[in-house]
Symmetry: C3
Subunit: 303 residues, 3 copies
């Protein structure tokens, strides 16, 4: 397995010296934002993690290898290349075998982080049960990954287009702890709140780290959600954004937009209906997650 | 992992000497019955297991440790304390890390039993797919635990408020054997029957033990259901109890009772609509499960 | 675990010498076809695999053992015995413990193949989510087996009576790669096409083998689907067969045919409504899968 892993020097030394490391995904770079904002975002996220005393490890697949940490040049490749594969569990081996360029999703990044021994991962929002998922059975592989892979995911909840209630039911059924970081409400990505609670609120990075360490010391396989609401200054109103999404879903249906085209359509709508504010909110929550992930990774190593 | 386990002397010696041990849960003590009936029940269950030549190990979480076997004083704490946490898989590590008092559910007890090397566990009824679960996706973590954790659960079926049919489908999909102990019908907790069959009927504890041993010797991970109907003298009529539950569900809906309040509301209704007989039935089935678990645990060790 | 495995000399030598071996199921023999066609089919499948330079290992449970490879006499027993058990995960240990005769399903064969170290398995079609499964939750244990057991299954898609769309959603959620062999469309058993795509098309056995090897070298547990459409000369028309199945389902409903009786009823209907052509198609696809499995097993060993 080691033959597939390729580390930057910085990340390798950090792992060897048991210094805090935070994993970062590459799908948000290749598929989440346009160039050059994606590259700026990717750099800024790394910078924020360094400010917390941790080492960022942006993860991607390239040249038949899993890159744990990307160089400037590699980051640029992910930010500018066309047709980068989105790599979830089912795609992971194939994209390596074919030596293709693969941007890792939440599930894909968790797999790579566990292989590399990285315990904390910062992202925007996880995948989950899609709206009407009780009919379509469209459920992100991020959830089954959380059920089995030993990585904590710092996020602002599930992606806004998803069904939060059923996503939380799925996580409960599969024994995945949902920790609210300084909140007792499960956040809804663009907004700080939702109609749903968390399993328990924890306010200190040290206490989060202890809970995670205890879980893995006990041999309880699987990840954890650290739900971290978007900072107030950048938060959107829950009801407003929910209405915007409902409107976008209806419009998608009326226009016979189905399958993989629904999500980008809705996100575009949300962006235009919020006068672009949703993009700012998205960036703000990613930065905030990076900061909190840095704190938790640091606390985890000192533990 | 060993550092989290704390055994009573009796249980530790039994495990070291490969004597039969039966695990027991603590949620039924802290959340299932009022004081002092809960304490009486807890003691009587232990007594019944001893009468079968096995050692009872009531399991709970306390002072940052997993207690495998509880002292008189500890049993009393679980029976009388307010706000004891219900500990399923997602809560397990956190309640230990926070040194809180945690009563283990079926899932939580299975985790602890496996860590301690106990193969047989007696309870009342398992959790499962909730009624209307095909819409809500409310599915107990007991089912995913049965899919992965190597403990046999002796029970009188699933808790009566659940959807038996979909619970059995879920177990089949996840490869969990459903053994009918002296029955070819899956029991429905208060009643000895239901509309559903079992995977196979086994009438001898030795044959159950052999089937379990073969499963685990083969490396087939996961638990098994030993479905043991409530004794006839205490059994309620299937159609009568089903009508009572349907009535209670309708009343809950009409009164906008939702979420975690539904189950206690229905159970209260069932109790009052059966003039308290449901409580007697519940005790009778727990005692019977303890007896059968003792027999199976003994047969398993002699195997 | 080794004590439960019993190999034919041919299979044992092939495994020791790292020669290609292809696993075959026995349910298709005991429950899929009438005698003597089932025996002819079983022999011809083995012959086809040998023609590809691989060794066939038909798998069944007998005398408390898992037979890896069946003798002429044993094959005959499976082809002619009444009341042979269908062995999926939940039945596996019990049928061994009881020393009963057990024909392995896709799930059961995968378990046995993994225990024996066989990586490639040829069958007709896998089980999956049943039509209306979003309501009934009737989902084959083949899917959870694919999520966890390291065997590649060469098939012509899912059995035709199933819900292809939700079956593919389930596989995606659980991270199972769905590889189209020389096709970018997921085949629908009797027909070469469906409304659904595959995760990726691969045209060379060597490339399939490399993808599988990479997956397992990475420690990514679970199987893979190699979807191999029925040869054109034997293929039925997608819309025609779909209409026939819909008609059969309606007739089953009108006649109150439910549960385990639905599938044989529909298959009988399909057979009579296609003037028996569906049986020819079924045989043709099984032979074709055996051929492709032989090629992939050979490529896997040379890798
Ligand atoms: Mn999906
Ligand atoms: Mn629930
Ligand atoms: Mn089924």
């Amino acid at each position: 397995m080691e033959q597939f892993l390729s580390y930057t020097k910085e990340v390798q030394e950090a792992l060897q010296n048991k210094q805090p490391v935070v994993a970062l995904e590459s799908t948000i770079i290749s598929h989440g934002l346009p160039y050059p904002q994606n590259l700026e975002m990717a750099r800024k996220v790394e910078e924020i993690i360094r400010e917390q005393g941790a080492v960022p490890a942006t993860i991607g697949i390239m040249d038949g290898e899993i890159k744990i940490g990307l160089t400037e040049e590699e980051l640029n490749d992910f930010a500018t290349s066309e047709n980068v594969h989105k790599v979830s569990r089912r795609d992971f081996a194939h994209v390596i075998a074919q030596r293709e360029l693969g941007a890792t999703t939440v599930a894909g990044t968790m797999i790579a982080a566990e292989l590399a021994g990285i315990k904390v991962f910062a992202t925007g929002g996880i995948g989950g049960v899609h709206r009407e998922g009780e009919i379509t059975w469209d459920v992100s592989a991020d959830l089954t990954e959380l059920a089995q892979t030993n990585v904590a995911v710092v996020c602002a909840g599930a992606k806004s287009i998803l069904d939060i209630g059923r996503t939380l039911e799925y996580l409960e059924t599969h024994g995945v702890p949902v920790i609210g970081y300084k909140t007792n409400t499960f956040p809804s990505f663009y907004s700080r709140v939702s109609e749903f609670g968390v399993d328990y609120q924890i306010d200190q990075p040290e206490a989060v780290a202890k809970s995670l360490k205890t879980k893995w010391d006990l041999g309880l396989e699987g990840g954890a959600i650290i739900a971290n609401p978007v900072p107030e200054h950048a938060a959107l109103d829950y009801n407003k954004i929910e209405n915007v999404i409902q409107e976008a879903i209806t419009e998608a249906k009326n226009n016979n937009i189905t399958g993989k085209e629904v999500t980008p359509f809705i996100l575009d709508k949300v962006k235009s209906l919020t006068d672009g504010q949703s993009l700012e909110t998205n960036l703000a929550l990613v930065y905030h997650n990076a900061e909190v992930a840095g704190l938790i990774a640091s606390a985890y190593q000192e533990n």
